[in-house]
Symmetry: C2
Subunit: 279 residues, 2 copies
């Protein structure tokens, strides 16, 4: 297969060993000095990235997505705190021999992005944070209850409930996004185990209750923050708080959108993110 | 001169009569079904538009900028309220025989944009609002004092004080923007008269004290809101309030930026605005 034919739907899953963990990852796109590495949401795996977004970004740079320790097709145990997840991710990146990355962190991945910026500034070039919040965000105290309510629904409804608003237009865009997420038919990843689910739930809930220890003001990197108007899980307001704390952030809110804002406006997100990374 | 050679620096000033007012305007750019009409800030005239922004937008659509009644090179009296300014602007647009426009409203122009969306929905396609606020924004109670403090400074410092933050980087971008605003050397407009200054000051201050009468929730158009992180005049938070009230708005904040956020990031603004208008 030629490089140009490798895209989000066809990129093979590779594995690399680091610190006793076998990390599953996919790597494709236009070769670039600095690859963009994607960090996934609660229970999310390689297959939860929107192909439109991956291919739109891969047109201008190399993309690496991976399953963090204990998630999806990666081995090991999922830690119950964001700092340990960050350290696992850094081990993975170093195992690839990469010394500089751009970061795309979605939800839980956006928490890891904050640790990466503060604790590994030399490894990071630019950061994109979608649907996330700073430490101490009160809305996250209710994370287990929100997930509990979601789990009572049918599988498609869980996705729509978490990531989209209740408007018909948002739901329709959600159904289209879900189709895209399932348009890759072969070499798919395993779902998150109970261990991963429980550990990530603890980490996310704790992110909301813990006293902020990350000094966001010290993150020197350009940051692009994306959020929906109605993210109940993270509380949309908390992205504005994050923006005010970061010294060099651009913040964009999308209309009638919930936690999955970039699933709802993939082309706008690609345009904005490519501009942000290229300039 | 060929159409392609007409740009922000060379576009001649035309005049059209409507309702007893001779409106000064410039019109150029790629012919398009819907022109983008620019509405200026307090005391601003045809020459206060950033040439980088005008030419960046004109590459993809027709641009019309004008001096509203009593301002710059237009005759007549400047009204002391935003609604009457809106009516004057509509008279100008109708005199040109135009039935549908996109709106770019900066500061005071962003107030007019809100009236246009609510009272003239059929005339409007999309709206861009930069550095503005909804009615009732308390920060505007101090508008005369802020302008008073600015007037005590040297001319260049007035511009930097109003539109940029106190950081060296923001100030440097401000000096570059000021150079661009003076790079058109011929056929420049007259400065605002005392009558225009006093009437606009009253209108802007009243915008902050008046009870909201515009029903923002009824504005059906796609709106793009742009604001800086540190706009003291409008209070940056008020753009988030505006975003929450409007049913279909995208909101972007730029870092380390004050009231003149789009002067500071003209290329990012052009990329985002062209995407917004094209899609």
């Amino acid at each position: 297969m030629k490089t140009s034919e490798i895209n989000a739907l066809t990129a093979p899953t590779h594995y690399i060993e680091s610190n006793g963990v076998s990390f599953a990852y996919r790597r494709f796109g236009k070769p670039s000095a600095i690859p963009l590495v994607g960090f996934q949401h609660f229970t999310g795996t390689l297959d939860n990235w929107d192909p439109i977004i991956l291919d739109g970004l891969a047109a201008e740079r190399e993309i690496i997505i991976f399953d963090n320790a204990g998630v999806g097709n990666s081995s090991g145990e999922t830690p119950d705190n964001v700092l340990a997840m960050t350290n696992d991710a850094v081990n993975f990146i170093k195992a690839l021999g990469i010394t500089k990355i751009d970061v795309l962190g979605f939800s839980l991945g956006g928490f890891i992005a904050q640790y990466l910026g503060e604790q590994h500034p030399d490894l990071i070039n630019k950061i994109i944070i979608v649907g996330a919040a700073p430490q101490g965000t009160k809305a996250l105290h209710n994370f287990p209850q929100l997930i509990g309510r979601a789990q009572e629904k049918e599988p498609m409804e869980i996705f729509l409930y978490i990531f989209f608003t209740s408007s018909q237009e948002s739901r329709n865009k959600g159904k289209a996004a879900l189709q895209r997420l399932y348009s890759r038919t072969e070499d798919r990843t395993k779902a998150a185990t109970d261990q991963a689910v429980m550990a990530q739930m603890k980490a996310i809930t704790h992110w909301g209750t813990e006293k902020p220890s990350i000094s966001l003001k010290k993150i020197p990197h350009p940051v692009l923050i994306i959020q929906g108007s109605n993210d109940e899980m993270m509380d949309s307001d908390s992205s504005y708080t994050l923006f005010k704390e970061l010294p060099n952030a651009v913040l964009t809110y999308y209309p009638d959108a919930a936690h999955g804002s970039f699933y709802q406006y993939p082309e706008m997100f690609v345009n904005q993110t490519n501009y942000f990374l290229n300039n």
